[in-house]
Symmetry: C2
Subunit: 482 residues, 2 copies
C-alpha cells in the first residue's frame, strides 16, 4: 500500500511514462509494417510479437506499481483507444478497486466493454458497501448475477446497502465493525482481538454493545493499551458517542464530521442497534465529489463529463441548459420587441439597455450566492429572514444610487440628454432592488421545494433581471422620453 | 466532549432556546421600566437585577453545554447586539476554541470588542498551531504580547507555525507528535506511553524516528496491541509512510488524503526530520472552507460576509465586482453604440442581439467550468490540450448549427426576413466558437499566471462573449442587410 502511494508526488510523470510505453508499442507496429517488403510475413509477425510483448510487460509492471486511485487517474487521462489497452492490462483483483475510484462517466464506458464474467469477478474482491456502490449503474439482471456469485452473508450486506437511499449514511457505511460487550475485562477484549487474523490500520476504537447489539459506548484503543488487563470495559468506555442513523443524509454527516472533527462514528438502526460504521475518508471523498458536481451544476451540466467522451455525447450533455437559456433569451427578446417603436425613435436606448440588465444579473447573483451559502451552513431561518431581506434591499438601494449615478453620468457624457440619464439612474435602482429580491427568494424557494438551490438559481435569476431590466428601462424611456 | 455534541441533532432548536432566553431578558427590562411609576427607583432596580441575573444564569448554563463549534454557530446567527451579550458570557478558557471555529468576518468583529488581556488569556488555552491561526489577523504589537505571555517552548512552536506560508501544510500541522525509536521493544514503548498523562483519543499510530529525528516509519497502535512485548519496533513498523513537507500546499495534501483515504500523516522538513503531523479533520475543514469561498469568489465576493455586518460594509464588499462588471458593460455598450445607424435602420436587431450574446456567455461558462474542474483534478496537460481544443470547437460548431437554426427560425417567424435569419445563424455559430475558445483559454491563462481560475473567469468570459456577440451580429447585419 505505502510503496504504491510513493508515486503520488509525480502523478503527471507517471501518466507520461504510461503514454511513452503506449507510444512505443505503436511505433514498433509501424516500424515492422514498413519493413514488411524485405522480410517474410511470418518473420515480421514474430519480431513484432516479441517486441510488443516486451513493451506490454513493462507497461503491466508499471500499472501494477500504481495505487488504484492513481490508476483511475491514468485511465481518466487517456483517450478512448489507449484507455482500453490499459484497462485490459489491469489484473482482475484490482479492477473493482479502480472502478470505485474512477469518475462516473468513465466508469460507465469501461463497464460497457467488460464481459459479464469479469464484472462479476471484480465484485468478488470488494467490501459489501463497495459492491453496492459499484452495481448501482448496472442492469438489473447483471446485479442479480453479481449477487448470486457471493456467499450469503456478503450478499445480505450488499442487499441491505442497496436498500438505503443513494446519499444516506447507510449507503456509505461499512458493515464490518468490531464490537465488544461492556461486562468483560480488557484481557478478554485483547484475546478476542488477537484471535482475529488482522485489524484495520486506522482503527481508533471498538464499539461497545449489549446482548442485542444496542450501542452502549466506545472503547478507545489507547485506553486498552494504558490500563490493566483486569479492568472492565464498562469502567473505561466513553458513553454516549456521536452516532448516526442509517437514513441520515451523508451531507449532514459530513457537516457534523467537519464541525466536531470526527474520524469515524457508529451507524445504528431505529432501535439504536449497531449496523455499521461510517468513516471520515468516505465522507471526505463525498464532500469533494459534491463540490465538484455543484460547480458543474451551476452551469447546467448535470452529469459528469468524460474528457474523452465522443463529441456528440458531450454536446448533448449541454443541451438542457442551452434550451433553458434560449427560452429565457427569447422572452427577454420579446420584451425588447414590444418597445421597438421607442428604440426606433431613440437608438441610444439599444446601446444602454444591456448595462441595466447586466449589472442587475450580477448583483442578483451575489445576493444569491450569499443566501445559498447561508442555507448550506443552516444560518438562515424564519427569524432572521426579515432582517436579511431589509438588509439586501438597503444594499440594493445604496448600490443602485451610487452605481446608477455613475452609469447616468456615462450616458449623459455620451448622449447629452439629462432625461435619458435620469431614466438610466431610476432603472438601475429599480433593477437592483428586483435583483436583491430575486437573489433571496429564488434560492429559498428552490430550497423549500427540496431542490438544490445551486442548480438553476442563476438561470432563473438572470432571466428575471434581464427581462425586468429591459422592461423597466425601455418602459420608463417610453413614458418619459417620447 | 461527547455530551456537548449530543445537541447536534437540533442546532436550530438550540439557537431558538438561546434567543428565547435573550428575549426574556429584554422583556423583563421593559416590564420593570413600565412599572416604574409605582415603585421607588431603587426597588425597581432590585427586581430588575434579580430577574436579570436568573435569566443570565440559565443562558450561561445553556452556553456552557454547547460544543465550541455550536457556540460559534449560535454567535454567527445572532444580530450584533445579542451576539455581544452572548459573547461576554462565554468563559475565558473557551473563548479561544470558539474563535477558531467562527467565520473570519464574525471573528474580526468579536476580537475588536475584546480587551487585550482577554485575547492574551484566550490564546493560553490553545495549541500552538491554533494560536498561530488565531493571531494572524491581530495587530503586530498584540501578537507580541500574546507570544510574551507564553512559555518559551510554546512560543517557539507558535513562531515557527507563523513562519509557514498561510495555506501550507506547515501552517495546518500539529506540533505535538508521539515519536519512538526503532531499536526499542514494544515493552519500552508501552512504558513510555503509560508515563504520559494522556493520549489523544483519535491516535492510530506512533512515528518511528532515528537519533536525529529522521522519519523511519510508523508503528500502528493495533500492532502494539497484538504482538509480544519483546518484539522490536523495527520488526513491526510500516516503513515508508506517506509524509508531507512543511511547504506542500494544504490543497495538495487534502487531495492526497482524499485520494488515498489517509487519516493523518507526518510532516517533515527538508532533511526529512519530523516536525509535526497533519490530520484529516483540519484538512476537511479546510476543503469545506475553500469550497464555500470558491462559490463566493465566483461572484466576486472576495471576503466572507457576516450575515449581520452593517449595510455599508456589506455593500462595499460587492463594489470591486460591480466596478469590473460596469466596465465590461460600458465596453459592450460602446460596441452597440458603433452600430447605432444600423439599428436605426432595422430595429429588430436590438431585440435579437441579446440572444446571441446570452447563449454565447452560457456555453462559454459551461466549457470554462469543465476546464476549471479538469485543472483542479490535474487532468489537463500539454499533451491533451490540443485534443480538448478540437473537441470544444467541434461541440461549439455542432451546437451553434443546431441551436442557431432554432434561433434563426424564431427570427424568421417574427420578422419574415430570410437575410436576418441567416445573419442570426452565422452570428450564433461564430459566437459559440469564440465562447469555446474563451472558455478554454481564460481559465488556462489565469491558472498559468498562478491565479485562481474560479475567480474572474466568468467576468472575463462574459465580457468577451457579450462584446463579440454584439459585434459579430451587428457587423454581419451592417454588411449583408443594409
Amino acid at each position: 500500500m505505502h510503496a504504491e502511494i510513493r508515486q503520488h508526488r509525480n502523478l503527471q510523470g507517471t501518466l507520461e511514462q504510461v503514454k511513452t510505453l503506449l507510444k512505443r508499442m505503436d511505433l514498433v507496429d509501424n516500424l515492422v509494417r514498413r519493413q514488411s517488403t524485405h522480410d517474410s510475413p511470418s518473420r515480421q509477425e514474430l519480431v513484432k510479437n516479441i517486441v510488443r510483448k516486451q513493451n506490454l510487460t513493462s507497461l503491466q509492471q508499471k500499472l501494477e506499481s500504481l495505487h488504484p486511485a492513481d490508476l483511475a487517474y491514468v485511465l481518466e487521462s487517456l483517450p478512448l483507444d489507449q484507455r482500453q489497452i490499459v484497462w485490459e492490462l489491469v489484473t482482475p483483483e484490482r479492477c473493482g478497486a479502480v472502478l470505485l475510484e474512477i469518475s462516473d462517466a468513465v466508469r460507465e464506458s469501461l463497464i460497457a466493454t467488460m464481459p459479464h464474467t469479469e464484472i462479476i469477478g471484480a465484485a468478488q474482491h470488494l467490501e459489501s458497501d463497495e459492491v453496492a456502490d459499484l452495481v448501482q449503474d448496472l442492469p438489473q439482471n447483471l446485479v442479480t448475477q453479481v449477487l448470486n456469485a457471493m456467499d450469503s452473508q456478503h450478499r445480505a450486506s450488499v442487499q441491505s446497502a442497496l436498500s438505503f437511499p443513494p446519499e444516506s449514511v447507510g449507503a456509505f457505511m461499512e458493515f464490518n465493525t468490531l464490537s465488544i460487550r461492556e461486562d468483560v475485562t480488557l484481557e478478554v477484549v485483547l484475546r478476542y482481538l488477537r484471535s482475529r487474523k488482522s485489524l484495520p490500520e486506522q482503527i481508533t476504537h471498538l464499539l461497545v454493545v449489549d446482548r442485542i447489539g444496542t450501542l452502549k459506548g466506545v472503547l478507545y484503543l489507547k485506553d486498552l493499551l494504558l490500563h490493566s488487563p483486569n479492568t472492565l470495559v464498562s469502567e473505561l468506555m466513553a458513553p454516549e458517542p456521536v452516532f448516526f442513523y442509517t437514513d441520515d443524509t451523508a451531507r449532514e454527516a459530513s457537516l457534523m464530521f467537519e464541525r466536531y472533527g470526527l474520524i469515524s462514528a457508529p451507524v445504528v438502526n431505529l432501535h439504536k442497534q449497531v449496523v455499521g460504521e461510517i468513516h471520515v475518508d468516505v465522507l471526505m471523498a463525498f464532500v469533494h465529489e459534491i463540490s465538484q458536481k455543484e460547480m458543474l451544476n451551476q452551469v447546467g451540466l448535470s452529469e459528469e463529463e468524460d474528457l474523452f467522451a465522443p463529441i456528440w455525447k458531450s454536446g448533448k450533455n449541454r443541451w438542457l441548459w442551452l434550451a433553458l437559456n434560449l427560452m429565457t433569451a427569447f422572452f427577454a427578446s420579446r420584451v425588447i420587441g414590444a418597445f421597438e417603436q421607442t428604440i426606433g425613435n431613440l437608438v441610444a436606448l439599444a446601446a444602454l439597455m444591456p448595462i441595466v440588465a447586466s449589472i442587475g444579473g450580477n448583483t442578483g447573483n451575489q445576493t444569491g450566492a450569499l443566501i445559498i451559502r447561508g442555507l448550506a451552513l443552516q444560518q438562515i431561518n424564519q427569524s432572521n429572514l426579515r432582517y436579511l431581506l431589509m438588509k439586501e434591499i438597503s444594499i440594493g438601494l445604496m448600490n443602485g444610487i451610487i452605481w446608477g449615478s455613475i452609469v447616468a453620468l456615462f450616458a449623459l457624457g455620451l448622449y447629452q440628454q439629462l432625461g435619458l440619464a435620469l431614466v438610466m439612474l431610476t432603472a438601475m435602482v429599480l433593477n437592483l432592488l428586483i435583483a436583491a429580491l430575486a437573489g433571496i427568494f429564488i434560492p429559498l424557494t428552490l430550497h423549500k421545494l427540496g431542490r438544490d438551490p445551486v442548480m438553476g438559481s442563476s438561470v432563473l435569476l438572470t432571466a428575471i433581471t434581464d427581462s425586468m431590466g429591459f422592461f423597466i428601462f425601455l418602459g420608463l424611456a417610453t413614458v418619459f422620453l417620447l
